[in-house]
Symmetry: C2
Subunit: 390 residues, 2 copies
C-alpha cells in the first residue's frame, strides 16, 4: 500500500544543512515562508528528480518546520515520497481534478498550506520569475496581508558553492560525459548516419561508466557541417561525409547534476581555418584555467581567455562559461567581462569555449572545472585535442 | 559565410496556411501584432526545433507582413535561418551581451521590433502565461499605448486540428514509439540492469525506424517495482528481478511531433491483481475508441472509459488523455469528465490510460489516435497486450 524510500543521493544531514542556509537567508529578508517552484531548486532542497510536467508544484520552506512541505499533483506524490528525504506527511498530493482546470489549480493548495501554517499575513518569498503573471496575482489576491518578496534566484545563489558530496556527484556526471565523447570517437566514421552515432551517444549517457549509470538524459547537441556555426541543434538525417566537422556538446547527469563537455571532431584532416581556431580556443582554455583561484572574479577569468584568443586573431561574442550543477546553466555567475562574482572553493563552472564565429562555421571546446583552494581542477578527463577521424 | 536552408518538415504553403489562420484569429480579437514565445507554438509556425535554452525569444506575427519576424539570441540565429521557412531578413539575432543581463534582455529587442513596425500603440497579443511578471511588465512599460490582450493558448487551440501532412509526421513518430516498445521486449530480462535496458530504448528513439530517425529525444519514463504507482520517474540503478513489473511511457519525436505510447511489462507471470487491472484498462481503451467520432465530446469519450472500468471494479483519478502533437501534452483538450470540446477530424490524442491506483501499484497503457471522419484510427501498431517476459 505504501511506497518505500528509494536510494538517496545525499544523507538527510546534507539536505538539512542546505535548508539551514536557506532559512538564514529568509531571516535576513524577514520572510517566514518561502515557496520554491523552480525544479532545480526543488531537487537541491529535497532530492526530487521526477518530471512532473508543466503543472503547478512547489515546496514551502517555513520558520515553523524543520522540513519543507512538498505540494504536487497526487499522481507524482509517491515519487516525492520515494525520492526525497522528506517525511511522508510532508508530501501533499493535490487532486487530479485540478490538472487542466482554469478556475483553481495546484497553487491554490500551496496557498492553503501557507494559510494552515498561520503565515499568510507575514513576509512571503516567491520565485516570481518562475511564475506567470496570473499565478503571481493569485498569491496576492488570496493572501492580501502577505508582504511578498521576490526570491527568484535566492536558492540558486546558495547552491553556487557545492559541498564535497555534490562535487563527487558532479565528478561522476563528468565521467559519463567523457565516456560519451570517447564512444563518439569510436563510432564516428565517414558514411555513418548521424542518427546512428547520436543513438550510441544517448545509450552511453544512460548506461554511464564504472557501474554508475546516468540517472536521466539531458539534451545534447550534434552540429555537423554546414551547421557548425550554430550550437543548439540535434543530429540530422544525413550521413557523415569526408571533410565534415562535428561539434558535440553533451552532459552526463547524476541525480540531476551535470558535468558538461564539448569537443570538435574532424572527418579527415581539419581545414587550416579550423585548426587555427581550435588552437586559439585551447590556448584560451589554458589561460582561463590559470586565472582561476579563490578571490579572482569571473570577469578576470573571462579576460584571460579573451586576451589570449585576441592575440591569436579571434574574438568570441558569447560568454565563456557559467556556473553549472543541477542546472546545466545555473542562472547566477557567468564567466564574462563585467561579472564581478568572486570565485570561491567548490564553485563549479562549465568553461564553455564554443565559438560560433560565422553563420556556417564554429567549433566546440568545453570542460567542467571546480575552484580549489589554490586554482582550478578540471573534472573531465577526455583528451582536449581536436579529434581527427580517418 | 552564410548558412543554407536545411531539410524542411513542411512546405512553405503549409506554414502560410497556419499563419493565415492565426491572422484571422488576430483580426477577431482586434490585434495587429502577436508575440509568440511558447516554443511548441514557434515550432508550429516556423519549423524551428533548436533548443535555445532558458533565454528570451519570440516571433512577432503582424498584419504588416506575410512572414513573422523571429527574434532570438544571435548564437541561435543561424539555426533559425537553417531550420525555418523564413526569409533570412526575418531572423533577427540579438547580441550575446543581453544574455545573463538584468537591465535589458531579448524581450527589449522584441519590443523594439514592434515599435519599428509602427504597431506599439495598437492591439498587441501576448502569451501571458508564458511570461514572468517582470517580462509582462516590461511590455506594458515600454508600450504604454498598446492594448495588451492575453493570447496564451490561441495558437495551441489552432493547432489542435492537424493537417494531413502533420498526421503523416505523427504517424512516423508513433512508429518510432512502437519500435522502442518492441526493442524493450527483446532486451528486458531478469538480471538485466534497468539502465542498460533504458540505454537501448534511448538508442532506438534516436535511431528510429524505416530509415526515419527520431529528430530529438523526449524524456521517457521507466517505472519498475516498487515504483509502478508513480508515472514520471526514470530507470533506477538496480537490476530487473523475477516478479518485477515495468511501466514504460515513451514517445518518438519527428520534427517536434510526438506519437506517444505506454505499455506494461511483467517479468514472469503477472499477479492476479495486475492482470485484472490491465484487462480492465484494455476494455476501457476499446470502449473509449468506440466512442470517438466527430461531434462527440471529450467528456463522452472519458465517460465510456470510466463506465467500463467501473463495471470491472476500478476507478482512475487522472484524466484519460489529452491532445498531443508538438507538445506531448498540448494545453487544450483533455479526455475527462466535463471537457465539452467537440471532436473533429484530424484531432490527435494520447489516450493515456496509465492508472496509479495505489502508492506502490499501477499499470501503463496508452495509444495515440486520430479522429477520422467516422471514428478513431490508432496510430500505434505495437501489440496492446500486457507483455509477459520469461
Amino acid at each position: 500500500m505504501t511506497i518505500s524510500k528509494g536510494r538517496q543521493a545525499f544523507p538527510r544531514t546534507e539536505y538539512l544543512r542546505r535548508l539551514a542556509t536557506v532559512k538564514v537567508e529568509m531571516a535576513r529578508r524577514d520572510i517566514e515562508a518561502l515557496m520554491i517552484n523552480n525544479l532545480p531548486n526543488i531537487t537541491y532542497l529535497t532530492g526530487y528528480t521526477a518530471h512532473s510536467g508543466n503543472v503547478p508544484l512547489g515546496i514551502v520552506v517555513s520558520v515553523r518546520n524543520e522540513e519543507p512541505a512538498f505540494i504536487l499533483r497526487r499522481m507524482d506524490a509517491p515519487a516525492a515520497i520515494h525520492q526525497t528525504f522528506l517525511e511522508r506527511d510532508n508530501v501533499i498530493g493535490y487532486p487530479e481534478s485540478l490538472i487542466g482546470s482554469a478556475a483553481k489549480d495546484g497553487f491554490d493548495i500551496v496557498i492553503d498550506s501557507i494559510h494552515d501554517l498561520g503565515l499568510a499575513g507575514r513576509g512571503l518569498g516567491l520565485e516570481l520569475d518562475n511564475l506567470s503573471p496570473r499565478a503571481a496575482e493569485k498569491f496576492k489576491v488570496r493572501m492580501p496581508r502577505a508582504r511578498i518578496v521576490d526570491c527568484t534566484n535566492v536558492v540558486a545563489w546558495i547552491r553556487i558553492i557545492k559541498s564535497d558530496l555534490e562535487i563527487a556527484v558532479i565528478q561522476e556526471a563528468a565521467a559519463i560525459s567523457d565516456a560519451a565523447i570517447m564512444r563518439t570517437a569510436e563510432v564516428l566514421r565517414p558514411g555513418a548516419r548521424e542518427a546512428d552515432v547520436a543513438a550510441e551517444i544517448s545509450a552511453t549517457l544512460v548506461r554511464g561508466v564504472d557501474g554508475k549509470p546516468g540517472t536521466s538524459l539531458s539534451d545534447f547537441f550534434f552540429c555537423t557541417s554546414p551547421r557548425t556555426g550554430t550550437p543548439h541543434i540535434a543530429w540530422s538525417e544525413d550521413n557523415i561525409c569526408r571533410g565534415s566537422q562535428i561539434n558535440l556538446q553533451l552532459s552526463g547527469v547524476r541525480y540531476g547534476y551535470h558535468g558538461p563537455i564539448m569537443r570538435t571532431f574532424s572527418i579527415g584532416a581539419p581545414s587550416e581555418r579550423l585548426r587555427r581556431l581550435y588552437d586559439a580556443e585551447l590556448a584560451g582554455l589554458e589561460a582561463a584555467l590559470s586565472a582561476v583561484r579563490p578571490g579572482a572574479t569571473c570577469s578576470e577569468v573571462a579576460g584571460a581567455f579573451r586576451r589570449t584568443i585576441e592575440k591569436l586573431g579571434f574574438r568570441k561574442e558569447s560568454r565563456c562559461g557559467f556556473s553549472t550543477g543541477i542546472d546545466w546553466v545555473e542562472p547566477t555567475a557567468s564567466l564574462k567581462d563585467g561579472d564581478l562574482t568572486e570565485l570561491k572553493p567548490n564553485m563549479t563552472f562549465d568553461l564553455m569555449l564554443g565559438n560560433w564565429i560565422d553563420e556556417d562555421f564554429g567549433c566546440a571546446l568545453a570542460d567542467t572545472f571546480r575552484v580549489t583552494e589554490s586554482g582550478a581542477e578540471v573534472l573531465n578527463r577526455a583528451p582536449r585535442n581536436l579529434f581527427e577521424i580517418q
